[in-house]
């Protein structure tokens, strides 16, 4: 069904991802292959090769061959390949093309040239199968991440491709949405679809029937911080006090009378379903979101730097050094050296930041936030998104280092393996926090997780108090 033979690909610009080398891959109907590896090892590139987007949309250097259902991708028009290999991308929001869920699914069916009655039948079947009937008239762009990923999968599978390629489909989903998606994928595999998944979060996929894992090389592993660099200067002890916090976006109340306290010197993780207001809370703490209620740190307005999900929103300077030092009054170059060393950016100081990999850009964004030396700490919005295990470990080391120096690190995350490493875990719902305490205690509170609409997956390693 899907055969790869001595495949190699290099992007036209050497600054882009590192490309790909793969000797062989063979996937038969009803088989499922997981391509695992660190950032930059070529997972997304391989996914694009399998779906035919490379070489049809990317004009790099391709050698070897990929056969999909007997058709060589390099010689077959993309629209014909798309009938044989469907692809679901990492960011569900970025792949939404239509104004309603219904139109999103119909788009791909129209391109198959099907009769109207067939399109209608397939549309209804796929809406039922993925539980989307109630959402059919909604705008896909304004659904939650989990719902969007279900729509994306529905839109592709409605075309009945014998091969399905998924590029990091779990990275933006909470645990409940992950479990739902994995259940749908298991159904597809049992139904005879050949499924190839490129993913960092490999644990949830282990229960897919007949899963084969193919590790890609370690070319992208990130450099570790050298030993002997000075730690950040300690700050005076303080407490962050949030009380009666109300935030309204238009007519919608996002945060309602929210309150909590956190002491400096902690790493605090906030977990909750998509759309409960986690990012809004961080924006309010950073002073970016108009709100009612009080937010005080040591009796004054907090000085917390925020690192956003998407680093591309901040990068515009010619070099990494200029980017990190931009508009920093009297920059402390010792602090700068500590940051670039700790974040593994030493070799990239003269590189344009927009040419870095996503993981590297994220570390530049972190350096930008910390270069200002925020007095009270750091706010991280989904810091592990799209990051491999090495990057996550590096991030936690930095967070712990800041906490040891008395600063507060507050992060929102869907990644429970990351949240489990924090000093404190807050479980958030639309009504506020339903559990608060050390991760081991909170993760054991099944009632609270049920109330939050989330599940603690079986694969999560046991966290000891």
């Amino acid at each position: 069904m899907l055969t790869v033979d001595h495949l190699a690909y290099r992007y036209p610009s050497p600054a882009q991802d590192r490309g790909l080398d793969l000797q062989a891959l063979d996937v038969q109907p009803g088989q499922c292959v997981l391509l695992a590896g660190p950032s930059g090892c070529g997972k997304s590139t391989l996914a694009r090769c399998l779906a035919g987007l490379i070489p049809h949309l990317y004009h790099g250097e391709l050698s070897g061959r990929v056969l999909v259902d007997g058709h060589r991708t390099a010689d077959t028009p993309l629209w014909q390949l798309s009938e044989r290999a469907g692809m679901v991308f990492q960011n569900p929001r970025a792949q939404m093309l239509a104004a309603t869920v219904e139109d999103e699914i119909v788009f791909g069916l129209e391109n198959l040239g099907l009769e109207r009655t067939t399109i209608r039948d397939r549309l209804e079947a796929v809406l039922d199968r993925f539980g989307l009937q109630a959402l059919r008239k909604r705008a896909p762009l304004y659904l939650s991440g989990g719902e969007q990923q279900r729509v994306a999968l529905a839109a592709v599978t409605a075309r009945h491709p014998p091969v399905l390629v998924l590029d990091e489909p779990l990275s933006m989903l909470d645990t409940t949405a992950v479990e739902e998606l994995v259940a749908h994928l298991a159904d597809l595999v049992r139904g005879g679809t050949a499924v190839v998944i490129c993913e960092h979060r490999t644990e949830p996929l282990q229960r897919l029937p007949g899963l084969r894992t193919l590790p890609l090389d370690q070319a992208g592993s990130c450099p570790l911080a050298p030993a002997g660099v000075p730690a950040p200067q300690p700050v005076e002890p303080f407490g962050l006090d949030v009380s009666h916090l109300d935030v309204r976006l238009g007519r919608v109340t996002v945060l309602d009378d929210l309150g909590f306290r956190a002491a400096g010197g902690q790493v605090v993780a906030i977990v909750g379903r998509n759309g409960v207001g986690k990012t809004t809370l961080l924006r309010a703490l950073a002073g970016l979101q108009p709100h009612r209620g009080t937010i005080l740190a040591g009796g004054q307005r907090p000085d917390l730097a925020m690192v956003f999900q998407n680093p591309d929103m901040q990068l515009f300077n010619a070099t990494v050094r200029d980017e990190i030092l931009y508009k920093v009054p009297d920059p402390d170059m010792h602090w700068y050296d500590w940051l670039v060393n700790t974040l593994g950016l030493c070799d990239y100081q003269d590189t344009p930041p927009l040419l870095l990999s996503e993981g590297e850009k994220k570390r530049v964004a972190l350096a930008i936030a910390l270069m200002r030396r925020p007095a009270h700490g750091l706010l991280l919005d989904e810091p592990s998104l799209g990051q491999d295990a090495a990057h996550k470990a590096q991030l936690m080391r930095l967070a712990c280092s800041l906490a040891q120096a008395g600063r507060l690190v507050l992060m929102t995350t869907h990644d429970l393996s990351l949240a489990a490493q924090a000093d404190r875990l807050l479980l958030m719902t639309r009504a506020g926090f339903v559990a608060d305490g050390p991760p081991a205690e909170v993760l054991a509170d099944r009632e609270a997780w049920k109330e939050a609409g989330l599940i603690v997956p079986d694969w999560l390693p046991e966290v000891r108090p």
Partner: protein, 241 residues
């Protein structure tokens, strides 16, 4: 530019399901647009008559509040236009230019508040606009809110790192060229990436297929022919009588 103008306020309008024009063929609504675009060239007295008729149409179509909201968003532009024309040329010109902009803004809201991007795309296809362009136009139309959101997010991200002045300081001094670079470079990068992601997503679902067959159908009913005949007759009367 301040983003408080767009904060929590989508650029595009919600669909007004209760409007009779919601059931009209998009091609008839495009004919209305075309008629209104011709009417802006009428002299002041006739333009005023057309505006009166247009207001009646908005009342019938239950779209007066929507059109008023859209015009209200343009209040500063309209005021500036009026004052400049009045001071620089004459009161007559100020009135006619302002009425023209009002009419065009209103007619835009009439179409967008009663037509989905999918219907709009289908209408363009039926009018023999190549599918590739019809698809791109409808996609651009539905992405307006998204672009506004991204612009706001970039603004906040840059403000949080101190690359842009805060609200109080913004009032005290004009933004510098470098501040605009801090906004526009990420905006271009994000827009380009989004465009590329859409291209990939569309191609992965057979966008270029020569066998494409539209699922939804359009049909001109009595209401649609009535609208087309009405706008044609009105323009003809106002031009030739």
């Amino acid at each position: 530019m301040t983003l408080s103008l767009v904060r929590n306020q989508p650029y595009t309008l919600d669909l007004v399901e209760a409007s009779p024009l919601r059931r009209a063929d998009p091609r008839a609504k495009l004919a209305l647009c075309l008629g209104a675009s011709l009417a802006v060239m009428l002299p002041l007295e006739r333009l005023a008559i057309f505006m009166g008729l247009y207001l009646l149409l908005l009342v019938w179509a239950r779209l007066l509040p929507v059109a008023a909201k859209q015009v209200w968003r343009l209040k500063w532009l309209l005021l500036a236009l009026f004052i400049v024309d009045w001071v620089a040329v004459s009161l007559d010109l100020a009135v006619i230019v302002t009425l023209r902009v009002l009419l065009l803004a209103g007619i835009f809201s009439l179409v967008v508040s009663t037509t989905t991007p999918g219907e709009f795309r289908l209408a363009l296809e039926r009018l023999r606009v190549p599918y590739r362009y019809a698809f791109s136009i409808s996609l651009a139309f539905q992405s307006i809110n998204l672009l506004a959101e991204e612009w706001r997010a970039i603004y906040e991200a840059q403000r949080s790192r101190g690359a842009l002045p805060g609200r109080a300081r913004r009032l005290a001094k004009l933004p510098r060229l470098r501040d605009w670079v801090a906004l526009t470079v990420p905006a271009i990068v994000l827009t380009t990436r989004r465009a590329w992601a859409i291209t990939e997503a569309a191609c992965a679902r057979g966008f270029d297929s020569p066998h494409r067959r539209p699922y939804r159908q359009l049909g001109m009913g009595w209401l649609d022919w009535g609208l087309v005949a009405g706008i044609a007759a009105t323009i003809a009367l106002l031009v030739f009588l």
